[in-house]
């Protein structure tokens, strides 16, 4: 399809820091490594198929496919093949492939995960071996083992503990150091303190059994509890990574390559991370815009559902700006790049999502506040215990202090809440609800009133053909034939209404031969049939104009008329100032400062009329309208049941939509929502007022909307959700995105949120009880350090295990065909 980007401008590629990474190997072949994002891997066997397919290419040196992250890392000889060829190899194997952009983040996660696992492993295995060496000490009677052997055992254990301390426990020391530097007590401080005291005391005991530290060594409990702490942290990290990966996969696939026009007029395909500002790109029909920019040539309409949530196409003329990720529907255009890469809105949204994945939830911040006093208390008690015991039995003083430090489980405050929230987020993500802000679970559980948007939330994006109005002038065609003709003509267009026509057409329609098919943005599609007659499908006014009538619209200086044709037959000569021009009332005299809404012009209806009748498309032949097709919005599946479930859960529902009031009232009646709670024609300001009024009444408010359009409204609500059909990128300001598009999942999310809060309360209660019981035991010298270590580890595991229960808390969806 395009010249290889490798061969095109090697110098540019090498100096750019983006794109595949290059290295020279021993035979001076240029080895590039790249990460491909794969799609269609439904099972682990598919991953192996892709690997086999890539390996079969002789230029590929090394391949590893990860099923978990749906990506493939490839190292190939860049002089014998290129990235496009490799993508083709994967595609011909039957899977989707594209250059991976989240490479850097994924790399980071991978190295982070590996390091954490490495540390945990070192601690655990060394700990196991140390326990083996400590066992004789527990089992033997006094005097059974020769003192030499005892010393050997102790030193062996010491040698194995050193790597654990220096390497595995390093995060605790650095964390403790960091918190001390800001003069605050962090969770790591008592852990680090306990570890160091235990190690120093045990080393002293090993060195000099008759000395002040006694002869007992506790390397086994030391390594054991370090390993349990690290395993707990690794589990937590895995959950965090899982959430991040789910979010990344959800941000959709931006186009990976773009056709750039060079100065010589030739186009080449470049990966989008090599685009620069003021590049000229050619965008074909059906392709997505790879960057933010401005149209410089061509007239088209684009699907900006990524931003607006509405799939009605927006016409674009030269000079108008386009957004990266929106889809070009009408005609090929040329655009100039204005913002690319990290500056595009897409990247901004992705960055937001990534931040959301790493932020600390509010409850954890609460826990941090309590941690300070708690930890100071612990340190104080440990010191006090040591002091008291140094008078009673000096040999045990150190060990009492160590026991106190070790037994106090920081798990309650550091692990309990985040692990529960993360497990809940993971379970919800599997179900199809992505939490952008993890601590949105708490307000979700407390929600009392839910504001619902209409389009896209309750109704599907796609209209449905409701009925056909055949006009009397059409005598030779029956309604099915009209539908067939309209569908075959509409098949040439991507407009949602024509796609709805195609859906409604009977499946056995013969292909109608059309020639000279042209689509006019904002008006409709026209073609000439085998008999030479000109047919038009679209706006009624435009269909009438097929006979060749020319529009006589004189446009004032500041008018903003889009590309629709205005039929002069319905035009008289009054003045229209600053009004929304309704196609039925268009005048041919001066039009000043008027905005013609393209979508309404296409459908030929004023907002008032369409509220009553639904959206209308006309089919005409040679200037005579033959039929009108009326479309209705369909209610999404399961909406009624979901709303009933929400009502049963005790949530008050309010419909809040910018759509026409009559339509909104109709929908409210269908859904059994009280008429006073159905507000139509609401501007974003009005919506904001409604939400603020509800909050002033003391209600906890949630809102389901379509994301960016209602950004301030969503930000104001206590918890905000967005449905995820199509472009998830737009849902930047919602706290949660319902990817599965099932409203019923809101009910599930709420149930999950309540469970999570219960689990968190259980965790904290357990930790409080445990500490309240065990610290006095340790102070009285009844808890040897090994028992303290065991207790602390068991407590951590109990908390994490309790949180992990949440992963299986949701029932699997019963509807088939939707991915969870």
């Amino acid at each position: 399809m395009s010249p290889s980007f490798v061969a095109a401008r090697p110098a540019e590629v090498l100096e750019a820091d983006r794109g595949p990474r290059w290295a020279a190997d021993a035979h001076d072949a240029r080895l590039a490594s790249a990460t491909l994002r794969l799609s269609g891997l439904h099972c682990a066997g598919c991953a192996a198929s892709v690997e086999a397919a890539l390996r079969s290419d002789a230029a590929v040196r090394d391949v590893s496919v990860s099923h978990a992250s749906q990506s493939a890392r490839v190292r190939f000889d860049s002089q014998r093949t290129n990235l496009n060829a490799l993508l083709q190899v994967v595609r011909s194997a039957g899977y989707g492939a594209a250059l991976d952009e989240a490479d850097a983040a994924r790399e980071l996660r991978r190295s982070e995960s590996r390091l954490a696992l490495w540390r945990a492993f070192v601690a655990a295995f060394c700990g196991m071996q140390v326990m083996m060496l400590a066992l004789p000490g527990y089992v033997a009677e006094a005097g059974d083992i020769a003192p030499d052997l005892t010393r050997l055992l102790d030193w062996g254990a010491w040698l194995l503990t050193v790597p654990v301390l220096l390497f595995s426990a390093a995060p605790f020391f650095s964390g403790a150091w960091r918190s001390l530097q800001v003069r605050r007590i962090g969770m790591d401080v008592p852990v680090a303190l306990g570890i160091s005291v235990a190690f120093i005391a045990s080393s002293g005991a090993a060195l000099n059994p008759a000395g002040p530290f006694g002869h007992e060594v506790y390397f086994d409990s030391l390594t054991m509890f370090i390993s349990f702490l690290l395993i707990g942290r690794w589990i937590e990290m895995r959950m965090r990574h899982w959430a991040a990966e789910a979010l990344e996969a959800a941000t959709g696939v931006m186009p990976q390559t773009a056709l750039r026009l060079g100065a010589d007029g030739l186009s080449e395909a470049v990966p989008i991370d090599q685009l620069r500002v003021s590049d000229i790109l050619r965008i074909a029909v059906g392709e997505a815009f790879p960057a933010d920019g401005v149209v410089i040539e061509g007239r088209s309409h684009v699907d900006e559902s990524l931003l607006s949530g509405e799939s009605k196409p927006v016409p674009k003329l030269p000079g108008m700006s386009v957004i990266g990720g929106s889809i070009n529907l009408g005609a090929p255009v040329m655009m100039r790049v204005e913002r690319c890469g990290a500056d595009t809105r897409y990247e901004a949204i992705v960055g937001l999502m990534r931040d959301a994945a790493t932020q600390r939830p509010a409850s954890a911040r609460w826990a941090d506040r309590w941690a300070g006093p708690f930890l100071w208390t612990v340190l104080l008690l440990a010191g006090l215990g040591a002091l008291v015991w140094s008078f009673i039995d000096p040999q045990r003083a150190v060990w009492v202090a160590v026991s106190v430090l070790v037994v106090t489980c920081p798990c309650a405050l550091s692990l309990a809440t985040p692990s529960a929230l993360l497990a809940a987020a993971q379970a919800l993500a599997r179900r199809g609800v992505l939490l952008r802000r993890i601590d949105a679970l708490e307000p979700l559980a407390a929600m009392q009133r839910l504001f619902l948007d209409k389009t896209g939330t309750l109704t599907t994006q796609r209209p449905r053909l409701a009925r056909i109005e055949r006009l009397p002038v059409c005598a030779d065609l029956t309604e099915p034939e009209l539908l067939r003709l309209a569908a075959s003509l509409g098949a040439w267009s991507h407009h949602p209404l024509s796609m709805a026509l195609c859906e409604a057409a009977p499946p056995d329609r013969r292909a109608q031969a059309w020639r000279d098919v042209r689509e006019q943005a904002g008006a409709g599609v026209e073609a000439i049939d085998v008999l030479g007659q000109r047919w038009r499908l679209g706006n009624a006014r435009w269909v009438l104009g097929a006979a060749g009538v020319v529009a006589l619209l004189r446009v004032g200086d500041s008018a903003d008329v889009d590309s629709a044709n205005v039929d002069s037959a319905n035009v008289d000569s009054a003045n229209v100032d600053s009004a929304n021009v309704d196609s039925a009332n268009v005048d041919s005299a001066d039009v000043d400062s008027a905005d013609v809404d393209s979508a309404d012009v296409f459908s030929g209806e004023s907002p008032r009329a369409s509220a009553a009748q639904g959206v209308r498309v006309s089919l005409g032949r040679e200037g005579a309208v033959l039929a009108h097709f009326i479309f209705d919005e369909t209610l999404a599946d399961g909406v009624a049941q979901a709303l009933a479930a929400l009502r049963a859960d005790g949530i008050a529902l309010t419909l809040l939509s910018g759509d026409a009031p009559a339509r909104v009232q109709r929908l409210a009646r269908r859904l059994e929502i009280d008429a006073t709670q159905a507000i139509g024609g609401a501007t974003p300001e009005r919506k904001l007022l409604e939400i603020e009024a509800a909050q002033a009444r003391g209600e906890s408010v949630g809102m389901i909307g379509d994301g960016v359009n209602d950004a301030p409204v969503l930000a104001r609500a206590d918890v905000s959700l967005a449905m995820g059909e199509g472009a998830l990128l737009a849902r930047a300001s919602a706290d949660a995105v319902i990817v599965s598009n099932r409203l019923a999942d809101v009910v599930q999310a709420r149930a999950m949120a309540k469970r999570t809060l219960r689990v968190i309360a259980q965790n904290i209660a357990w930790a409080a009880t445990y500490n309240a019981v065990c610290v006095p035991l340790a102070l009285f010298g009844l808890l040897p350090p090994w028992a303290a270590g065991l207790g602390m580890a068991a407590s951590s595991l109990l908390v994490v295990g309790n949180s992990l229960r949440l992963q299986h808390a949701l029932p699997s969806p019963r509807t088939s065909g939707t991915s969870a």
Partner: protein, 61 residues
């Protein structure tokens, strides 16, 4: 029991050997994709994928 004087240091060295092997496995990426490793038992070594036929497999759906 004198053999213990040999065995205990030997066990320490064996431990370091185990750590070295794990380090190799970790950095070779064996722990990156635990789900796929679990399913590897089902793979046909010739094909590299699940199934016994020698024809090219259609994409799984």
């Amino acid at each position: 029991m004198d053999i213990l004087y040999l065995l205990i240091p030997l066990s320490v060295f064996a431990m370091f050997g185990v750590l070295g092997i794990f380090a190799w496995a970790l950095h070779a990426g064996q722990f990156d994709d635990l789900e796929r490793e679990g399913a590897r038992a089902l793979f046909d070594p010739e094909q590299g994928s699940i199934g016994t036929s020698t024809e090219k497999l259609p994409p799984c759906h």
